[in-house]
């Protein structure tokens, strides 16, 4: 009987402790601010209350957007032959990184793809452009023809230009994270239309890490897998993001400057993890166009300067390959 009494008491004690521990893991408050900016939906997530958080986010977002669109949009096009353009520091740093990746990919990624992007205009088009128009746009593409001297960009021909569409959101993520930290927000997530920038310690995770899902490019479910990250960017480029269908064929928005057509190498999406947001953004596009084999060579080279870099390739047949993703506890279903 003594032992029954003892076990009853221990059950009671156990229940009491369980209830206290449940009370201890009460839900962390989450504050969200959502805006339509940079041609997408931007959501800020924080875990601490801050007065005027909404106006702070809005003003920082506007500042980042103004910096990127100083020349009227997400690209600069030369109005005359041999034009020079004085860039702000942010855009100059983007061009510098983009030129590096352009050369690393042997032109499969090309920062000067702007005339081709304008021609295809995948956001609004319903029909692919003519072969002649593609050839004439391609004649203006070539990263080797442009140069950057300090902040001065040289564009060789009228109509040639640079496209920040593949780098802007990555750059903005880093700037916003830095400015939010300076304004007393210690941790959070900035989601720029699927470009994820996390900063600080996640209060919901004992190691302070954030779990970031990778969208399932086939739309079978919300995510195909996830990674655990801290103070970095997780950027994905996918054929599913923007496209139109013509004659039963899908024409997506990631163009191959070698062919003038949407990249077609069996890749459905590429995710890049890197603490440098502009590089992560540029690279997700570059790896998508370069393909897996060249992509792995590029990652090998880049990881010497950026050891935190990782990438996840999802192929059209549904298989997944990755580079360094085990560092981020990559988990695929």
């Amino acid at each position: 009987m003594k032992s029954i009494r003892l076990s009853l008491r221990s059950v009671f004690l156990f229940l009491l402790l369980s209830v206290f521990s449940l009370a201890g893991c009460e839900k962390t408050p989450v504050y969200e601010e959502t805006f339509f900016a940079m041609d997408t939906v931007v959501t800020f997530t924080f875990y601490e209350h801050k007065e005027n958080a909404s106006s702070l986010c809005f003003s920082l977002l506007s500042a980042a957007e103004n910096e990127l669109t100083e020349f009227g949009g997400y690209f600069i096009c030369a109005e005359s032959d041999g034009q020079t353009v004085e860039l702000n520091d942010a855009l100059a740093s983007v061009v510098e990184k983009a030129l590096y990746v352009s050369s690393l990919s042997d032109g499969r990624y090309d920062i000067t793809v702007a005339p081709l992007v304008s021609l295809w205009n995948v956001n609004e088009a319903a029909v692919p452009p003519s072969e002649d128009d593609i050839l004439s746009a391609l004649s203006l593409v070539g990263y080797k023809n442009i140069s950057l001297d300090g902040n001065t960009l040289f564009l060789p021909k009228k109509g040639s230009g640079v496209d920040f569409g593949s780098a802007g959101k990555g750059l903005a993520g880093d700037e916003l994270a830095k400015n939010l930290l300076q304004n007393g927000i210690s941790a959070g997530i900035i989601n720029l239309g699927g470009n994820i920038r996390v900063f600080g310690d996640n209060p919901k995770n004992p190691e302070g890490k954030f779990t970031v899902g990778i969208k399932d490019p086939f739309g079978r479910s919300q995510i195909i897998g996830s990674v655990k990250v801290k103070d970095t960017n997780v950027v994905t480029s996918g054929a599913y993001e923007r496209y139109f269908i013509y004659d039963n064929e899908r024409y997506h928005h990631i163009l191959d400057p070698k062919t003038g057509y949407p990249a077609d190498n069996g890749i459905e999406s590429v995710t890049v993890i890197c603490s440098d947001g502009a590089l992560a953004d540029i690279l997700s596009t570059a790896l998508f166009v370069a393909g897996y084999d060249l992509g792995i060579d590029m990652l090998d080279t880049l990881s010497e300067s950026y050891p935190d870099i990782a990438a996840i390739f999802v192929f059209s047949d549904g298989t997944v390959s990755s580079f360094n993703a085990e560092k981020y506890e990559a988990d695929f279903k």
């Binding site: 939906v41 609004e124 995710t271």
Partner: protein
């Protein structure tokens, strides 16, 4: 062994009752205090447009731009005026944290609550 030790004492009954009551209260608290995952929030131009329960079927017309259909605990978009129809192609969403975005209409439909991830890249 002493005879008295084998008898059920009053305190044992009290303790047993206390455990039963405790379990009942804890179960009730967990049931009633559970949060998230059952509210659909519709944002238009970044502002909250309306809020709905995921458990009651409804069709919500958002400013004549689209119909948000809540049916059997799932949400989808119908009759969108946007040219691409990407929001309609999103199909059903129903898990905590999932969302449908319609950029041309500047509408975001989100299921509240914490999902299995903190964010989704893509």
């Amino acid at each position: 062994m002493e005879e008295t030790n084998l008898k059920i004492r009053k305190s044992d009954i009290v303790l047993t009752c206390a455990i039963v009551v405790f379990c009942a209260v804890a179960a009730a608290a967990m049931f009633f205090l559970r949060t998230g995952g059952d509210t659909v929030r519709i944002y238009k131009d970044g502002e909250l447009f309306s809020e709905h329960s995921l458990s009651s079927d409804a069709v919500i017309n958002v400013d004549g731009l689209m119909d948000v259909v809540i049916q059997n605990g799932k949400v989808r978009v119908e009759n969108s005026v946007c040219p691409s129809g990407a929001c309609e192609h999103s199909g059903f969403v129903y898990k905590k944290g999932e969302s449908i975005i319609c950029l041309p209409n500047r509408i975001l439909i989100k299921i509240s609550g914490e999902g299995e991830t903190d964010a989704v890249s893509g």
